[in-house]
C-alpha cells in the first residue's frame, strides 16, 4: 500500500487535496443547485442534488485521507506529508501543512465522521438544503486546516474559519433557542481567540528576522526559546484561554449545553465529535510545546488539573439531573473532556496517549449518541427523557445500538471508551495519584447517569400510547450507525495500530515539554 501511495506521489498533494475537496464540493452544490433553484426548496430536497453531492464529496475525502493511514511512518515523530508554499511573504506567513501522529488521528476522525453527518441530516434538514451542505463542507476545510496547519497564522485563520459555518448551522437550522445559542457560541469562542491572536502576533514578532519580517512557522517558534518566563506565562494564558473555552474546561463550559442542544443533529455531532477536540489538540500542539515552562509551572499545572477533575465530576453530576437527553449527553462531554485534560496535564506518555484515545473514542461514541437522539427526535419531536419509556419493545434495533453505544461511552472493557480512560488513569496515577483517584469516580458517575437514562428511555413500562407505533431504524440509519459500531468494537478490541501511530508523537511531546520545562526552571525568573 505504501509503495502504491508513493508511486502516485500521495504525500505531496494529500493534505492540499483534503483542504480543497470540500470547497470544490461546496461549489458544485451551488452550480448544480442553481438549475433547481426555481423549483423551490421542497423540490431541491427531492432532487439528486445537495445531499448526494455532499455525501460523495465526503466519501472521496475519507478515501483520500485513508491513504495517510498507510503512508504514515509510525516511527517518525516529525511532520509527514508536509507541504510548504508561499502565501504572504511580506508578513512572513507561509502556507505550511503537515501531520504528525496526533494530527493524523484527528484528521481521520474528521473525515470518518463527516460522511455520516450527511446521512444523519438526510431527512431532518428540509430548508435551505444547499446552503446547509455547503456550510458543512466549508466547515470541514476549516477543521482539517486547524489540524494540519504548521504556521500559526494559518492555524489562526482556520481556527476562525470554522466558526462562521457552525454559527450559521446552529442559528439557521437549530432548535427553538437557536439564535441565543449561536450567538453565545460565537462570542464565547471569539473573545479568547482574539486574545490568542495578539499572542500569536507577539510570538511571530518575537521570532522576526533581521529585516523585521515576522515568522509564524511552528517549528521555528519551537526553536526560539528566548521568551522570558513572565512573557511566556501571559502567552500561555492567552493560548490556554482560547483552548480551554473550546474544550470546554469547567468554568468556561456554559456555551456548550446551549450550542449542543440547539444545534441540528449534524451540528451536535460535529461539535462534540470534532470541534471540542480542537481545544485539547491546541493544548497538545501549541500551548504545551511552545511554553513548557509556563505549562509545567506547578501552580498552573495544578490549577489545570483541578479544573480538569472538577470538570469530570461536575459534568457527570449535572448530566445526572438533566431531563433532556441531548443536554445529558452534552454535559457528559464536559466530563469526558475533563479526562482528556487530566491526561494531557499529567504528562506521561501513557496518559497523553490515553487522552488521545479518549479524544477519538469520544468523537465516535458521543457522535453516535447524538445521532441516535436525533433519530428518535425525528420520530417523536421530543428530547425529554420522560416522554419515552419502555420503547425497547417497539424499536429493538434502536434500543440495542443505544445500549451498546452508551456502554462504550461509559467505558466498558472491550469498547473504545475503556482504552482511553484506563490509559489516562494509569498514566496520571504515576504522577498525580490523588487526582487520578478522584477522577476514577467519574467513571462510576458516568455509568450512573447513562444507565439510568437508558433505563428510563428504553426499559421502564411502555406507558405512553403514542410511543407504541414508533418505527424502528431504517436502512439509511443502520448504514449510518454500522461504521460507528464497528469503530467502537475495533478500537476497543485492537487499538494497537492506532496507539502505535500516536506513540512517537506522544513521546516526543512529553520529552519536549519536560525538557523545555527543565530549561525554563533553571533560568532566573525576572521579578519586576
Amino acid at each position: 500500500m505504501a509503495g502504491f501511495l508513493d508511486s502516485i506521489g500521495y504525500n505531496d498533494w494529500a493534505l492540499v487535496a483534503l483542504l480543497l475537496i470540500p470547497l470544490v464540493g461546496a461549489g458544485l452544490i451551488f452550480v448544480v443547485g442553481r438549475r433547481n433553484a426555481a423549483a423551490g426548496d421542497e423540490r431541491a430536497l427531492e432532487d439528486p442534488g445537495a445531499r448526494q453531492i455532499a455525501f460523495y464529496t465526503f466519501l472521496i475525502e475519507f478515501i483520500v485521507s485513508l491513504g495517510l493511514w498507510w503512508s504514515f511512518d509510525p516511527a517518525n515523530p516529525g511532520w509527514q506529508a508536509a507541504i510548504d508554499m508561499s502565501w504572504i511573504p511580506t508578513w512572513g506567513v507561509r502556507f505550511t501543512l503537515g501531520v504528525d501522529g496526533i494530527a493524523l488521528m484527528m484528521v481521520l476522525l474528521t473525515t470518518f465522521i463527516m460522511p455520516l453527518t450527511v446521512l444523519g441530516s438526510w431527512t431532518s434538514v428540509r430548508t435551505k438544503v444547499r446552503s446547509y451542505y455547503a456550510l458543512l463542507l466549508i466547515l470541514t476545510t476549516g477543521m482539517l486546516g486547524v489540524f494540519v496547519a504548521r504556521d500559526l497564522f494559518l492555524f489562526y485563520v482556520m481556527w476562525e474559519v470554522m466558526l462562521v459555518p457552525m454559527y450559521f448551522i446552529i442559528g439557521i437550522w437549530g432548535g427553538e433557542r437557536r439564535i441565543y445559542a449561536s450567538l453565545k457560541f460565537f462570542i464565547y469562542t471569539m473573545l479568547p481567540s482574539l486574545l490568542m491572536l495578539v499572542a500569536i502576533i507577539w510570538l511571530g514578532l518575537h521570532a522576526r528576522d533581521a529585516t523585521g519580517t515576522p515568522n509564524f512557522s511552528y517549528d521555528n517558534l519551537l526553536s526560539v526559546s528566548s521568551v522570558s518566563p513572565r512573557a511566556a506565562l501571559w502567552l500561555f494564558g492567552a493560548f490556554a484561554f482560547a483552548f480551554a473555552v473550546k474544550v470546554p474546561m469547567f468554568p468556561f463550559h456554559t456555551w456548550l449545553p446551549d450550542a449542543h442542544v440547539e444545534a441540528p443533529t449534524a451540528g451536535s455531532v460535529v461539535l462534540a465529535g470534532i470541534m471540542l477536540k480542537m481545544g485539547t489538540f491546541g493544548f497538545l500542539r501549541f500551548a504545551l510545546p511552545l511554553f513548557p515552562g509556563a505549562a509545567m509551572n506547578p501552580t498552573v499545572r495544578n490549577l489545570m488539573l483541578v479544573l480538569a477533575v472538577i470538570g469530570i465530576i461536575y459534568g457527570a453530576l449535572v448530566a445526572m439531573v438533566q431531563p433532556d437527553f441531548k443536554k445529558l449527553v452534552a454535559y457528559s462531554s464536559v466530563s469526558h473532556l475533563g479526562f482528556v485534560m487530566l491526561g494531557i496535564f499529567a504528562l506521561t506518555v501513557q496518559s497523553v496517549q490515553g487522552a488521545l484515545m479518549i479524544m477519538i473514542s469520544h468523537g465516535i461514541s458521543t457522535g453516535a449518541l447524538f445521532f441516535l437522539i436525533g433519530m428518535i427526535y425525528e420520530r417523536k419531536h421530543s428530547r425529554l427523557i420522560e416522554s419515552y419509556g419502555g420503547i425497547a419493545r417497539v424499536v429493538p434495533m434502536f434500543a440495542a445500538i443505544l445500549t451498546f453505544v452508551s456502554l462504550s461511552s461509559i467505558g466498558l472493557p472491550g469498547t473504545n471508551g475503556f482504552v482511553g480512560e484506563f490509559l489516562v488513569l494509569v498514566g496520571s496515577f504515576r504522577t498525580y495519584p490523588v487526582f487520578a483517584t478522584i477522577a476514577a469516580t467519574g467513571v462510576i458517575f458516568a455509568a450512573a447517569y447513562l444507565l439510568w437514562a437508558i433505563q428510563r428511555v428504553l426499559f421502564n413500562p411502555l406507558d405512553k400510547a403514542e410511543n407504541i407505533h414508533l418505527p424502528d431504524l431504517n436502512r439509511r440509519e443502520l448504514a449510518l450507525l454500522a461504521p460507528l459500531v464497528a469503530a467502537i468494537i475495533w478500537l476497543g478490541v485492537y487499538p494497537a495500530p492506532v496507539l502505535r501511530r500516536m506513540e512517537a508523537a506522544s513521546q516526543a511531546l512529553v520529552n519536549r515539554v519536560e525538557g523545555g520545562a527543565a530549561v525554563a526552571v533553571s533560568e532566573p525568573v525576572a521579578v519586576r
Binding site: T90, E160, I172, I179, S182, L195, I201, W202, R208
Partner: protein, 503 residues
C-alpha cells in the same frame, strides 16, 4: 521626476491630479448647469464624473509609478499621498454609482450633486498632500463646504435638512478650533510648513512651550471632530442618519479617511519630537473612541446609525495605528483605510439597495429574512459585516487590516500590548452588533407583511459586488496590497522612528 516646489510650474505639475479633477469638475458643473434639471442629465453627469475619477486614478497611478519626489515644500509628493488618493477616488466612484440609483428615487435631479462630490474629493486629495498648515486648512474647507451642501441636498426631507444644519454648525465650530490651533502653532513656532515647524521646535526647544501645547490641543480637537473620534463624535450619528445614504457612505469612508490622512501626516511630520508627550492623550483618545463607538453601537436598531457608530469605532482602531506612529503604523493605516472603505461602501450600497423612496425601511428589523428573498444581498451584507468585524476569509481583507494594525502596535520598540488587547476586546463587543445584522438577515423569519425590496439595479449592485469581490479576493491573497502599502510609508516616520514609552 523631482519637483522643485518653489517654482510655480513644478508646483502645478506636482498638483497635476488635483488640477485635473478640479478642472474636469468645473467643466461638468457648466455642462450640468447648461441643461434643464432632469434624471437623464443627472445620470449623464454622474457617469461622466465617474469617468473623470477613473482618469484621475490613472493620473495618480502614473505619478506613483514615476516615483516622483519633491523637496520640503508646501505639498508632499510621496506614495502615502498617492495611495490615499486612490482610496478617495475609489470611494467617490462608489458613491456616485450609488447616487445614480438613489437620486431619482428620492427626487434629487440636480446633476450638481455629483460635481460637488468631485469637488469634495479634490479637497481630500489636497489634504492628503498638504505639508503646510494653510494647505491643510484649504483642503478641509474645500472638502467640508461641498459636504455641507451634499448632506442637505435632499431639501424636501426634514431629516436631511436637520442633518445639514447640525453638520454645518458643528463643522464650522470644529474648523474654528482647527484654525485657532493653527494660529497658535504658528505663533509658537513661526512657521506653517510641517518641516519648518519640526525644525523650529527642535532648534528653539519649544517642546514644553505652553502656546504650542494649547495649539496642539486645539488641533487634536479639530481633527477629532472631523474623524468623529469620541468624545467629539456626537454629531456623527444624527448627520449620518439624516444625510442621503450615498453621502453617508461617502462621509463614513472618504471624508474620515482624508481627515485621518492629514492628521497622520501633520502628526508625524510636524511634531515628531512631541510624540512622547502626546502619546498618552492620543492613546486615551483611541481607547475611548473604540469603547464608546462599540458600546453605543450595540444599542442601535437603525442601520444607518449602527453603521455610524461602527465608523466611530473604526476611527478608534485607526487611531491605534496613529499611536504607534512608526512607518509600519503608516502603512498599516493605509491598508486599514482601504479595507474599511471597501466594507463601508459595500454595506451602504446594500442599504441603498434595500431602501425605499423617502428613506424609510432603515430599521435593522426590516432586513428580517432577507436571505429568503434576496440571498445575494444578504450574503454580500454578511461579508461586509464580517469584514468590519475583522473576520478571516469570510470577512476577507477586514481580518488582514486588523492584523496589520495589531502587528504595527506590537512591532514598535516598546510594544503596545495593552492597546492591542483593548483593540481585540472591543472588537468582540462589535461582534454583538455586526452579528445582529447577520442574524436578522439569516435567522429571523420574514414578516408576511414585509414588502419585497426592489431588485437591485445595475449601478448599486455593481458597487455591492465590486466591493465584495475586492474584499474576498484580497482576503485570500493580500500580499500584493500589503507590499504596496508597505512601500507607501511616510518619509519622516522612516527617518525619525520615535521612541515611545510603554503604557
Amino acid at each position: 521626476m523631482n519637483f522643485d516646489l518653489s517654482l510655480p510650474g513644478h508646483l502645478a505639475a506636482a498638483l497635476g491630479p488635483e488640477l485635473l479633477l478640479m478642472g474636469g469638475a468645473m467643466l461638468l458643473l457648466l455642462w450640468s448647469a447648461w441643461r434643464p434639471e432632469s434624471d437623464v442629465n443627472q445620470r449623464q453627469v454622474g457617469i461622466a464624473s465617474m469617468a473623470l475619477c477613473v482618469l484621475v486614478m490613472i493620473a495618480v497611478g502614473v505619478y506613483a509609478f514615476q516615483g516622483s519626489t519633491a523637496g520640503n515644500g508646501v505639498i508632499a509628493v510621496d506614495n502615502f499621498r498617492w495611495v490615499a488618493d486612490e482610496i478617495f477616488l475609489i470611494a467617490t466612484i462608489g458613491t456616485i454609482a450609488m447616487s445614480l440609483d438613489y437620486n431619482p428615487r428620492e427626487g434629487i435631479l440636480a446633476g450638481e450633486s455629483h460635481v460637488l462630490l468631485l469637488l469634495a474629493t479634490s479637497g481630500m486629495m489636497i489634504l492628503a498632500a498638504a505639508r503646510d498648515l494653510i494647505i491643510v486648512f484649504l483642503g478641509i474647507e474645500l472638502m467640508s463646504i461641498a459636504i455641507y451642501v451634499l448632506v442637505g441636498i435632499n431639501r424636501r426631507r426634514e431629516r436631511s435638512a436637520e442633518g445639514a444644519i447640525k453638520y454645518f454648525l458643528l463643522g464650522a465650530f470644529s474648523t474654528a478650533f482647527l484654525l485657532y490651533g493653527i494660529a497658535l502653532v504658528y505663533g509658537a513656532t513661526g512657521a506653517t510648513n510641517f518641516g519648518a515647524i519640526a525644525a523650529n521646535i527642535e532648534r528653539l526647544g519649544l517642546a514644553t512651550s505652553g502656546l504650542l501645547l494649547v495649539g496642539l490641543a486645539l488641533l487634536v480637537v479639530g481633527f477629532g471632530f472631523k474623524v468623529a473620534a469620541a468624545p467629539f463624535h456626537m454629531w456623527a450619528p444624527d448627520v449620518y442618519e439624516g444625510a442621503p445614504t450615498p453621502i453617508t457612505a461617502y462621509m463614513a469612508a472618504a471624508v474620515k479617511a482624508a481627515a485621518f490622512a492629514a492628521f497622520f501626516r501633520l502628526w508625524l511630520e510636524a511634531f515628531p519630537s512631541l510624540l512622547t508627550t502626546w502619546h498618552d492623550p492620543i492613546w486615551w483618545l483611541a481607547v475611548v473612541t473604540m469603547v464608546v463607538g462599540n458600546l453605543v453601537a450595540l444599542a442601535q436598531r437603525n442601520i444607518k446609525r449602527l453603521l455610524a457608530y461602527s465608523s466611530i469605532a473604526h476611527a478608534g482602531y485607526i487611531l491605534v495605528a496613529m499611536v504607534v506612529g512608526t512607518s509600519l503604523g503608516s502603512s498599516a493605516f493605509l491598508f486599514y483605510l482601504f479595507a474599511y472603505t471597501m466594507a463601508t461602501l459595500g454595506a451602504f450600497a446594500v442599504v441603498v439597495a434595500m431602501g425605499a423612496p423617502g428613506e424609510d425601511r432603515m430599521g435593522v428589523e426590516e432586513y428580517s429574512g432577507l436571505w429568503n428573498v434576496r440571498p445575494g444581498l444578504a450574503v454580500a451584507m454578511a461579508v461586509f459585516m464580517l469584514a468590519l468585524l475583522g473576520f478571516p476569509i469570510f470577512g476577507g481583507i477586514g481580518f488582514f487590516a486588523k492584523w496589520y494594525v495589531l502587528q504595527a502596535a506590537l512591532q514598535t520598540p516598546a510594544p503596545q500590548t495593552r492597546l492591542a488587547v483593548i483593540l481585540v476586546l472591543t472588537s468582540v463587543l462589535s461582534a454583538g452588533y455586526y452579528l445582529y445584522v447577520v442574524m436578522v438577515m439569516f435567522m429571523k423569519p420574514r414578516a408576511s407583511t414585509a414588502v419585497l425590496p426592489a431588485r437591485t439595479t445595475g449601478w448599486t449592485s455593481a458597487v455591492v459586488w465590486g466591493t465584495a469581490a475586492i474584499i474576498l479576493v484580497f482576503g485570500v491573497f493580500p500580499d500584493a496590497l500589503v507590499s504596496f502599502t508597505k512601500r507607501s510609508t511616510l518619509d519622516v516616520a522612516k527617518k525619525a522612528a520615535p521612541v515611545v514609552t510603554t503604557r
